[in-house]
Subunit: 404 residues, 2 copies
């Protein structure tokens, strides 16, 4: 197929444009915007957790103290005091000079893709994996290989088989989201982390560790990050979207010194720098240990919402062959429908009954498990969770099963 | 050269990472941060023009009226009311649905590069051209071809020769900055725009029109944009950085309907969306015709600064074989040093005398004119302009000329 078959007129699209597709989730979210739909689909933090008043005070202060400075062009690396706070907040020794502030952690994925992926490069992902990461990687035309994964995370033996035997045929990296993963909500166990870290170092496989949800634990913190175990072998991605607010579009990455200059150059070319005003505002909000007081309130809220969803599932799905997990933190729960029920086919029936979710198939880089669904428990209220799960159970009950 | 020769450890860089280089200008700017240096180097708008008080009021109102909404994830296309204001403010019929809000217009360049450039694709640029555009394009590995240009803009005959004869060997686009160009400050004449638009349409050559400075005219507006003449053949890039403030990182693009979906998908993959809080803040500031009152004050300030620089050049350089132009708007003036004086060699001498500039060679995609310099007249005060130009003249006088 010639690229210019794709478009009318004189525009010739790049090959990589063919690899870009509309986000399935975005299409689903459009449906869920209909009035009256209870949505377990979106990955939206609860707006109740946004510290609006703290932001209002910080905005006013930043503009009053040095408005002109806050509104001027700024360093591509990010605002110095914010980089220091990020480094100080991480559970291993991090040099603030290794921190790059990004326009959301999504941009971290884009920058990593640009500097590490050639057309045809093999990259490894979990089964299933975060859809937004696939969207960031695909334009650089990698070969995406799905590594077998279970409730504790990556299967290390399968990883070693698929990482390659050395040289340029080697996988460029494994992308992994160890804490309260999107989409499954699962957490990689300590034993699995230790094994993965050791094996990856032994075979020279770099890790891209994405940790947007790590602070949102319910009863106890997750085990230490992979990056803490081998900082030179990992790029670590973090976000302010889940502990403060996503609408500011601020995240960060921590990179080995050997990679940082290239990530920085890619950052300059991408958007010069992340909004300096927003960075100063977040630094102002965070400066007196605000997160230490604020994040526990998010944990408590999300835990109560998870509990409500678990209770509703137990109540409504008791007579159905539906399985689900019990995440230890984060925003998502992963469920598996009865044999013969396809989540994509279930969705319109569920929407008819007033409830939406994301079919799990969207998150598989390889062969999809079409019976899986991702349920967000943080956006809907407890009352809506009760109603929505009952509606979902009714939709499942009415769906004819297929033999296959 | 194997990519993994480049880095220690197990990281293998993508080929495109080799094409990324530290910004020459950023390195120069580091020098200019020394106390006491008068800088004509940076492309920084005068912070005096930032409407700090209007932003403070807008922040407070946005957070008070719908703080939770302003801080939540939002549509990748951008904030609806802001897209409508952008469309209404452009001098041709623009459907707000064709407007994409970007994280600065630098991101517009990154998105265009991603969807239109394959490795080896020919793209055409002016001589000289905006360095930031080259930085955005290079990671996608184009063949960059410099088209002959004079004081009125692109040489249309040279363009036609270099655009290719049809098929996939054709240039993917011409990147052009018609108004008060960075770096030269020149403006494309009406006759040249008409000829370029007609010729580009005839040979099927798409145009990427970058217009960050168009509103900053001094005596009369520039001729209508190229995009107004052939909207289906152009992507138009605009910015709020020069009329409001760069620290918010907001720009926009207007694209033909055939391209928009791919640009939107690239945008989603790059950073999900531009900061929703900032978009609402800017929409709030702009809503009652603010720019109509505010931008004339920027024009008046920058015009007085240009006049100060022209007067200082006339006064200080009278006995030197230095040439310069007189820009009709924008932020930059372009000068040419005496025969045998190389701008890169002049720079450290000038810095020793307390003044900095950007050597023009940084802006040439092909053979550079090493005698050229870019002088920004908007960041320094009139007094600093007088002192700085005198210092620059002294540095030139003391530089031994080379025969070559």
């Amino acid at each position: 197929m010639k690229p210019n078959d794709l478009q009318p007129g004189q525009w010739t699209l790049a090959r990589r444009a063919e690899k870009m597709n509309p986000s399935v989730i975005r299409e689903i979210l459009k449906v869920t915007e209909r009035p009256g739909i209870i949505s377990f689909a979106g990955g939206l933090p609860s707006p109740k957790t946004f510290p609006v008043e703290a932001f209002a005070q910080a905005c006013a202060k930043v503009l009053r103290d040095d408005g002109q400075g806050a509104l001027q062009y700024a360093a591509s690396e990010g605002h110095g005091p914010l980089r220091e706070m990020v480094a100080a907040g991480l559970p291993w020794q991090v040099d603030p000079a290794d921190v790059l502030i990004t326009t959301g952690s999504q941009q971290g994925l884009d920058l990593v893709a640009k500097i590490l992926i050639d057309s045809g490069s093999r990259i490894l992902v979990e089964t299933p994996t975060y859809l937004g990461a696939l969207q960031a990687f695909m334009p650089m035309e990698p070969e995406v290989v799905s590594v077998a994964s279970d409730d504790e995370g990556i299967d290390v033996e399968d990883l070693a088989r698929k990482a390659g035997a050395g040289g340029n045929g080697n996988a460029r990296f494994l992308y992994v989201l160890p804490n309260f993963q999107n989409p499954t909500g699962r957490t990689m166990s300590e034993a699995r982390r230790a094994a993965l870290s050791q094996r990856a170092a032994a075979i020279g496989l770099p890790l891209i560790e994405d940790n947007p949800y790590g602070d949102l634990w319910f009863d106890q913190p997750p085990p230490p990050p992979l990056s803490a175990r081998n900082p030179q072998g990992c790029v670590y991605l973090g976000s302010f979207s889940k502990v403060l607010a996503p609408g500011l579009r601020l995240g960060f990455l921590v990179a080995p010194k050997s990679l940082y200059p290239k990530l920085l150059q890619a950052k300059q070319a991408a958007d010069l720098h992340s909004p300096s005003f927003n960075q100063r505002m977040v630094a102002e909000v965070m400066k007196d240990g605000f997160l230490g007081r604020h994040v526990p309130t998010i944990r408590a809220l999300y835990k109560s919402q998870r509990d409500a969803m678990l209770a509703a599932l137990g109540r409504e799905m008791a007579d159905l062959d539906v399985q689900w997990n019990s995440p230890d933190g984060g925003m998502f729960l992963w469920a598996r429908l009865p044999r013969g029920v396809d989540a994509v086919e279930l969705l319109p029936r569920a929407v008819d009954k007033g409830v939406a979710f994301v079919p799990g198939a969207a998150f598989f880089a390889g062969q999809a498990d079409t019976r899986t669904v991702r349920l967000s428990f943080v956006t809907a209220s407890v009352e809506q969770i009760d109603t929505g799960i009952a509606a979902l159970a009714a939709a499942i009950r009415e769906t004819p099963t297929r033999r296959n």
